[in-house]
Assembly symmetry: C2
């Protein structure tokens, strides 16, 4: 199919020079799974690995956007270039409303050193796991010092995002007690920092205590043992932002000292490479499909002549 | 790794004889991605393709469990063997509470011709798309006449489930108006029947009108054109169940007449075979990983020496 020509060297040069429109176009290439991405990623590769990637997740209503906004202000005050990637794991049933409050980020809309982008995962070849790391790579390669990936804690998404971040911040709010209860299973596995936002409300201290208790019961035994701090904030007033910034810096230092940063980045790169490889294999299967491969095997499965495993074996053999 | 020996022929024989515990063990094999599954699926293959697979989805609170319960009662009154698969796309954040009301299904807990099973998608190699079709295959092969797959409308799950069903029922309730609004995008693509439950509440007629209006705007142009009926129910009283049953039967007949049933089942088998093939390829990649393949390529990506696409090429080449 014919596609608009892309002048990759110029785009990458402009993105690295901090031109927001060039960054935007590169991320659009990611969203469209554009063939020029190969060339983009090859050009960006030497410039990546510098950004501190912070994952921010939490249930709807805990104040993710205001917290991101608060962090961006603090980072800009330190002169850092910041990228924000708001990933919306939206479905037909929940619609795009999750990002409706993106408007709160207007504080930074005119700052050329803040790049803000919403990304939907729907319809992607490999979903979140395919597109997000590549969008992160674009922001990293474009010279962002910090990239915040914000996602709503729904479905598997926050676990996936945690896998893509250097540091994962789990946001909670008082009065969402069942949330904390329900979250027990997975929350400790992914949180490097807990932030209890809206801490001026009743129940904030109870929520903090509950999380501390959970942490004390946890059995994280990483080298050097990182114990996630629990920080109270009132994001729309900026209260607590210094503590959060300190927590983030401390976690980054801890990861550098213990080698955890390298381990996490290696793990992330493995997942990214695998996702691209799987997408490529899936595309090949699609080509097989029109060429009768998968479809004829599947037809025999429907007829009960073949089981799906034997059919899959045939497909895999045809790929090789 | 050593696994418990599985006497597959005996299990399949017992499952086909309608022994619930044998069915349960087979689905557990699916959940565990047990190596014996190949043999299970080969043994079941000649017996599959008979069940009418009904997908039932809707937002939390619309009454999915009571509706399923109502349908099971009606199907049992007709002497049908029924399987219910409640798929929980739960995350660490939403916990397992979604299925807490499974207790309402106690009406049928002692009926040996009703097989009820909850399945979590979390942690699965290929998630929902890998495990659910195989669990359906087990229930189908075990002799269920109808299998209801119930899932909450969160994330991508209901679209995936719709892809696995012969007939998809979208459940709504009055007073969830925004739900209908927000859902517009995807709901029409997947619904073969709309059921407005809790129709004794205010606003039921308005909800029905809204859906009818949506349908009239839709542009579904399948052969013979199926126009989804909109049926009102009060599931906990059994009101409307006959209309739903008629709608389901009519849809099945329509699919048989138009060839749509074959098309859907072929599409489903293609997806199932692809999911198994991708899982197999992913496993091979994991083996490569320990053998230095993916990991060494990923390490060069982390170091900025290689872009992820070139790394993925190397991995794909190593698989062949």
């Amino acid at each position: 199919m014919p596609r608009r020509e892309v002048d990759v060297p110029a785009l990458v040069r402009d993105a690295r020079a901090g031109r927001p429109r060039a960054v935007a176009r590169l991320i659009t290439l990611v969203e469209n799974a554009h063939p020029a991405l190969r060339e983009v990623m090859a050009a960006l590769a030497p410039h990546t690995g510098r950004a501190h990637v912070i994952g921010l997740t939490g249930s709807p209503g805990v104040g993710k956007s205001t917290t991101t906004n608060m962090l961006v202000s603090a980072l800009r005050a330190r002169g850092r270039r910041v990228g924000v990637l708001a990933v919306d794991p939206s479905s037909p049933f929940s619609g795009g409303a999750l990002l409706g409050d993106r408007i709160r980020m207007v504080d930074h809309a005119l700052d050329p050193d803040v790049y803000i982008r919403s990304m939907a995962s729907r319809g992607h070849l490999g979903g979140l796991s395919w597109a997000t790391p590549q969008a992160l790579r674009v922001l990293d390669g474009a010279g962002c010092d910090v990239v915040v990936v914000e996602t709503v804690g729904v479905g598997q998404s926050e676990v996936e995002i945690a896998g893509m971040a250097d540091t994962t911040v789990v946001l909670l709010a008082p009065g969402m007690g069942d949330g904390v209860q329900a979250a027990k299973a997975g929350i400790l596995e992914i949180a490097d920092l807990f932030v209890v936002n809206k801490a001026d409300r009743d129940g904030a201290d109870a929520t903090v205590r509950e999380i501390r208790h959970m942490i004390s019961l946890g059995d994280r035994t990483e080298p050097g043992l990182w114990r996630p701090p629990v920080i109270k904030t009132v994001a729309d007033r900026g209260d607590g932002v210094e503590e959060v910034m300190k927590g983030l810096d401390k976690h980054l230092r801890w990861m550098r000292t213990t080698g955890e940063l390298d381990r996490r980045r290696l793990r992330r790169a493995v997942a990214e490479v695998e996702a691209i490889a799987l997408a490529a294999l899936r595309t090949r299967m699609g080509e097989l499909r029109t060429g009768q491969g998968v479809e004829s095997a599947a037809a025999r499965v429907v007829a009960g002549e073949l089981d799906p495993y034997t059919a899959a074996d045939e497909v895999v053999a045809a790929l090789a």
